[in-house]
């Protein structure tokens, strides 16, 4: 009953996904930059609550797209941003951040081999950076409850578009998008299932942490924004499987998305095929541009041993620790992580 109008600014234009139908019962929520949802919500709220006056610097530890979203929103708000990142920050992303006026502090490469790894070194550097500033604001995406809350806007859009959603599938990092969106969908649809997509050697769903090739999902630590009791199933996806699925998503549906979207697509497509009467939605967090020289480059894939089609189906496992490699799945059954690790299969 309303006419379409312009967006107030670029961050508003970027925050909501396009809902695209892939098969009769599978839909993709395609974001340009999903992290814009929490970044915009948290920073605008901080301004409204007087926590972000013009002299206050926005600081955060990130080497990914949350930093980009913060820098974009900060450009609108005319606030300074300091981001503490790994030495391995993607060069294209780095150039974009600097162009937006963000200061990017990198911890040394040697930190990667020390206890706690880059994560601990980044947190320590963040604390030092803040100590030198008269006023700073840290959005704390891993623990700020406003991160999951910000996804009410996504749940609103999905329900307005589709009405019925039987299963939501998405990659898990901070836990914000999957826990927030699922929780809000369940205010209307309590029966809605949630499938989290993680990668091997990530601590999020109980695997022993270790080096991981697939980036943008998975963590070495447990973020407090991850509410394990939201999830019905968990899938662990290898880098090879995610990359192959990302390419298939592009070739079959012409959706040019990043590898976490590919991993989510792999699990969502399989579940949607197995449950043809259920409506399935999968979250696709970012686009493919950053990965043109890697995931979208056959020579790079061959050099790194990632050629081949994606696996057809996941291997069910009885406990998170049993999940060795490839593509595996586990019945999480909305349990606490301690409960899962103590028992295994329900």
């Amino acid at each position: 009953m309303t006419i379409r109008t312009s967006f107030a600014d670029a961050t508003e234009a970027y925050q909501l996904p396009r809902i695209v139908q892939l098969t009769p019962n599978l839909y993709a929520a395609c974001f340009t930059l999903m992290k814009m949802v929490p970044a915009r919500y948290i920073l605008r709220k901080a301004v409204a609550e007087g926590q972000l006056d013009p002299d206050t610097v926005i600081v955060e530890t990130t080497s990914g797209t949350f930093g980009l979203a913060l820098a974009m929103q900060a450009a609108h708000l005319q606030r300074k941003v300091v981001l503490v990142s790994d030495p391995a920050i993607d060069d294209r992303l780095h150039r974009r951040l600097v162009d937006l006026g963000a200061v990017v502090e990198r911890v040394p490469a040697s930190a990667g081999t020390e206890a706690g790894g880059f994560q601990a070194a980044r947190l320590e550097r963040l604390a030092r950076v803040r100590a030198e500033m008269p006023a700073s604001f840290c959005p704390e995406q891993y623990s700020n409850p406003d991160n999951p809350r910000s996804y009410a806007s996504v749940a609103e859009l999905l329900l307005e578009c589709l009405g019925q959603i039987d299963c939501l599938v998405g990659p898990v990092g901070s836990g914000g998008s999957m826990c927030g969106t699922t929780t809000y969908l369940r205010t209307v649809l309590p029966e809605c299932r949630a499938i989290g997509v993680d990668t091997h050697a990530s601590a999020l769903f109980g695997q022993p942490p270790g080096p991981r090739e697939l980036r943008g999902l998975g963590m070495s630590l447990l973020p407090s924004n991850l509410d394990h009791q939201v999830f019905d199933n968990v899938h662990w996806c290898s880098a090879s499987a995610a990359y192959a699925a990302t390419r298939e998503l592009h070739r079959r549906h012409a959706l040019f998305m990043g590898p976490t979207s590919g991993a989510a697509y792999l699990a969502a497509r399989w579940w949607a095929q197995a449950n043809p009467s259920a409506v399935v939605v999968t979250l696709m967090p970012d686009e493919g541009y950053r990965y043109q020289d890697t995931v979208y480059d056959d020579a790079w894939l061959a050099t790194n041993g990632h050629l081949g089609d994606p696996p057809v189906e996941p291997t069910p496992v009885d406990s998170p620790g049993q999940s060795g490699g490839g593509w595996t799945t586990f019945e999480w059954s909305r349990r606490q992580i301690d409960e899962v690790l103590a028992v295994g299969t329900p």
Binding site: R149, E160, G163, Y184, T187
Partner: protein, 323 residues
């Protein structure tokens, strides 16, 4: 389980809104009541500011009829003492007509109503709206729905949206402002209404406004989008889910005893949810009026509600058979 005597409605039907009919130097106005809300909470307006707002479930079979008898010599409006809000509404409306060629200075308001009081069925808004319409009727003027809404909120601080009867709106009940038009009409629904606390009388003005937390504010945003779809696609089942979620959020503020038991009765017999008066004691089971066997489902719900000790006091059905 009848909808009560339809006398008020009949009276109005017999005497249509006809300014200054021969021999009657009075104004008359009618307003229906409602059966609580389908959704109530806080929602962003076009500028992003959060406002308290609701979506009313209209109840056309009950209402208030106001008769305004003018005085051209005395200022002020008289009426029975319990009609404070209606008298205030008459004064405010008279002020609107001060530049009219022959305005009344004051007058008397009499109300005939079959709306139960203190249960959340909008008896006072019904009185106030009927009064505003009666004063306007006396002056031979038809006020717009939005104008009536503005005057009603001025008269009673918070007013539901029964005067906006040509569409489904999300109405800021303390600002007298439509936040959003959700559609032309509600999906076809049957509502089986009960009073969950007949011994309790709720004074709307004495009730502290609900203090929603951030999680609940997010839920209202989600429910608004869902209701938008339910109205646009005429989806009674989805509407029932929205009403149920809104009723559950409200349990933290004005809890309804037996809400979950009543909901279970409805779900057992093919219903799609429960709605409540967020500042009252009535609740209604929602059934899709198009579902097969709807009459049998109503009977079974009535029987099971009686088993819970609840007597059905309201039955809303679509005026025209949807089939």
């Amino acid at each position: 389980m009848s909808a009560g005597p339809a006398t008020v409605h009949d009276l109005v039907r017999r005497r249509p809104f006809d300014p200054h009919p021969a021999g009657f130097d009075v104004g008359v106005g009618y307003a229906p009541s409602h059966h609580g809300e389908l959704l109530q909470g806080m929602f962003a307006d076009a500028s992003g500011q959060l406002r308290r707002a609701l979506v009313t479930l209209p109840l056309p079979d009950r209402g208030s009829r106001a008769v305004f008898s003018p005085s051209h010599s005395h200022w002020g409006v008289v009426g029975s003492p319990e009609l404070t809000k209606a008298r205030r509404a008459a004064l405010l409306t008279l002020r609107e007509f001060s530049t009219h060629p022959s305005p009344a200075k004051g007058g008397q308001v009499e109300i005939t109503s079959n709306v139960p009081r203190g249960v959340g069925m909008g008896s006072s808004t019904s009185d106030v709206t009927a009064t505003i319409r009666a004063v306007a009727d006396y002056h031979g003027v038809s006020l717009s729905r939005e104008e009536v809404a503005r005057l009603a909120v001025l008269a009673e601080l918070a007013s539901d949206s029964i005067m906006i009867d040509d569409r489904v709106v999300l109405f800021a009940h303390r600002d007298g402002m439509v936040l959003e038009t959700l559609g032309h009409s509600l999906p076809p629904l049957v509502v089986i209404g009960v009073d969950l606390a007949p011994e309790v009388h709720v004074d709307t003005l004495a009730l502290a406004p609900a203090e929603y937390d951030d999680r609940e504010l997010g839920a209202f945003q989600v429910l608004r989008g869902t209701l938008r779809r339910a109205v646009a696609t005429s989806d009674t089942a989805l509407l029932g889910r929205v009403a149920t979620a809104s009723a559950r959020i409200n349990q933290r503020f004005l809890p309804k005893p037996q809400l979950e038991d009543v909901l279970a009765v409805g779900l057992r017999h093919g219903g799609c949810g429960v709605q409540v008066a967020h500042s009252g004691t009535v609740a209604g089971l929602i059934i899709d009026a198009r579902s097969p066997g709807v009459d049998a489902a109503i009977d079974r719900c009535v029987t099971d509600l009686a088993g819970l000790g609840l007597e059905v006091m309201t039955l809303i059905r679509p005026r025209v058979s949807p089939r």
